[in-house]
Symmetry: C2
């Protein structure tokens, strides 16, 4: 499985990669090899790199019904339940037979980002050159690399041109980067709550998250043992992340000033006291048990450094080719008015750039109060938008 | 100076406390004793507690021209230059002869909050009972205690009733708490960018800041040595604070994606790279050199726990007595539309409560883009509002 298979080497309908056998119930996780070497946007190259993915639905004979789904910073490729892993995925309500992303109709491929730690190659992987974990010797990765790795993954699965490339949060930026790098790679595109370039505010927030990790003595300059990671720093980082993914208005409704049930009179004043503190604690606890600290740092910094305007001088220039013949037929850009991390103006800028490129662009600003993560929570609104666009 | 002086023990115009000699040029810092014992809102009492203050202008013969100014979480009482300390204060542009807070007309007293570390009694002070620093043995303090300590400070200075009680941020909440506790303590009130009760969003942000401090191994459960404080945790906490005090829109204008000047190609990808990261670093560096970690924790938690509705069941009930005869004649509530930490709705709620209490209330929502800290930055707008109100 180490070699790259050519996109046109097999008859239509045949899975390209051993072990990848799409079914409606979902398959995976499985890993797909990237071209070897895989050169990186900011220099260097990866050898023997692989991308983990899961799939749902069937690739049709024309191979023109595939959706490539990119994730946000932290999820795995497990976007919905599969035969191998029946636990609910991170977008369970959205992907399945007759759901908004209808697996009766589409073949859906969700990829774990290059640089992440759920099966794709990243800083936590073994460097084939040394037999040791890469850690900080992993080369810097860019949003562009993650996008191209997604492109190569579906190519390896025998898909020449996608029906749809889509994603939310980091995934929303990845879909846009995909269009800049592979303007003929997809017929349609959905970018949700993404940005074409991180704002100084988002950079500031992420730099504080990284600093919390890197100042944890257990980080050890990236050389922590897998069973003794910098949990304290990751905990602080994730709690801050959780805050920026939601909104003040939602939490006012959801938690108010409600205390944690059963808190003792005279309890330590600094122990969690308010329900919202208990919620943050639960979110962080779940995260730090599964996420690798170095992978977190790499993906976080990649998000800071992404600037679509690097590809031609402006957003519109970067996307110009996607408006040409054989490019994108239709684009949907969704944003949420309460998004603190990637404010709605940033999605408006993406939509404007596609429009300037001559692409049929639909921009919708949703009044969800759940903030940046609304796509995971406000299912009715997102369901309606995706159904209308994918119909 | 340990005893409390009665408010009516001396002829008008005479300074009440040895060492306090108001002059237009400003005096201080000086400390004023609180009543001994000083009982606390959540239980316990302080013995021998003192409040540091600085003053500007002259108390008139009628003793009716005094302004009590509360600060935000971190400043000292040094709101403007004085003879003793000619360095600019935190509100230098606002306090002085012919400035918005006109010291030709008013006698201004700025107090360092009870629990802080700039001369007032707090966790970093020596416990007279043990001769050791209080550290976490300091009793829990509440916004109510800080407000009452301000009241007692001006009483000790011979002021029976204030012309104005005012403050911004935590100080804005303190002014409101002052009105609830001492409804006849001031003729007018200005509350800027404050809240009547911390939202779950603000609580969440502060809980992450405290956690960064408390998970720093140098914190040592509060027993760090003064020359070896938990700098790393404080640094993360202050950076996050700085982010929440400003706004995404301001930073987009101010920093954009500008890199730090002279950053080397191939520099460590996690080192500060963007100008906004350098700014955070400078802000944090300044803070961690002067602020005590335990004091920070105490004041931060006091802000979380403040809920004006504890005083009677609702905000309006808490402020009802300030609408009675001899209470407040006029109130100004200012808020900023870009405030992330204490959204403008929270200032609207304060104004509504005063209005319901029958006080002549003026509420102004300012379009400043500087966020919560706009009162320190957008001087023209705040200057105009204060001049109009104090005229």
């Amino acid at each position: 499985m180490a070699q790259t298979l050519k996109a046109d080497a097999r008859p239509p309908g045949t899975p390209r990669v051993p072990g990848v056998s799409p079914s409606e119930a979902g398959t995976g996780p499985q890993t797909v090899p990237l071209p070897d070497p895989f050169p990186l946007y900011r220099g260097g190259a990866l050898s023997g790199a692989r991308i983990a993915c899961e799939t749902w639905g069937r690739l049709n004979a024309a191979r023109d019904n595939a959706i490539l789904l990119f994730t946000g910073l932290s999820p795995s490729a497990h976007a919905a339940a599969t035969d191998a892993n029946p636990s609910p995925g991170w977008w369970q309500a959205m992907i399945g037979p007759s759901l908004a992303i209808d697996t009766n109709r589409y073949f859906v491929v969700c990829v774990n980002s290059l640089g992440s730690c759920f099966g794709s190659t990243g800083p936590a992987s073994i460097d084939p050159a040394t037999g040791q974990r890469y850690r900080l010797d992993f080369p810097e990765i860019a949003v562009e690399d993650i996008a191209r790795a997604g492109f190569e993954t579906v190519r390896a699965l025998g898909i020449g041109r996608l029906a749809v490339v889509m994603g939310a949060s980091l995934g929303g930026s990845l879909a846009v980067a995909f269009a800049a790098l592979h303007p003929q790679g997809a017929r349609r595109l959905v970018s949700i709550s993404g940005t074409a370039a991180a704002s100084p505010f988002a950079i500031a927030l992420r730099s504080v998250q990284r600093e919390a990790v890197m100042r944890d003595p257990d980080w050890l300059g990236g050389h922590y043992e897998p069973d003794h990671p910098p949990h304290n720093g990751l905990r602080v980082a994730r709690k801050l992340g959780t805050i920026t993914y939601r909104s003040a208005a939602e939490w006012r409704q959801r938690f108010g000033r409600q205390p944690i049930a059963g808190i003792a009179l005279g309890a330590d004043q600094f122990a969690p006291r308010f329900a919202v503190e208990g919620y943050l604690e639960a979110q962080a606890e779940r995260f730090i048990r599964i996420y690798d600290a170095n992978c977190y740092l790499y993906l976080s910094r990649a998000m800071d450094r992404f600037d679509l305007a690097e590809h031609g001088g402006s957003y519109a220039a970067a996307l110009a080719a996607s408006g040409h013949r054989g490019g994108l037929e239709k684009v949907l850009v969704l944003g949420v008015e309460s998004d603190l991390l990637y404010p709605i103006q940033e999605q408006a800028a993406i939509a404007e750039a596609f429009e300037q490129s001559g692409v049929d662009t639909h921009f919708r600003r949703l009044p969800s109060i759940e903030g940046h993560d609304a796509f995971l929570v406000d299912i009715p609104r997102f369901d309606a938008e995706l159904r209308a666009f994918l119909a």
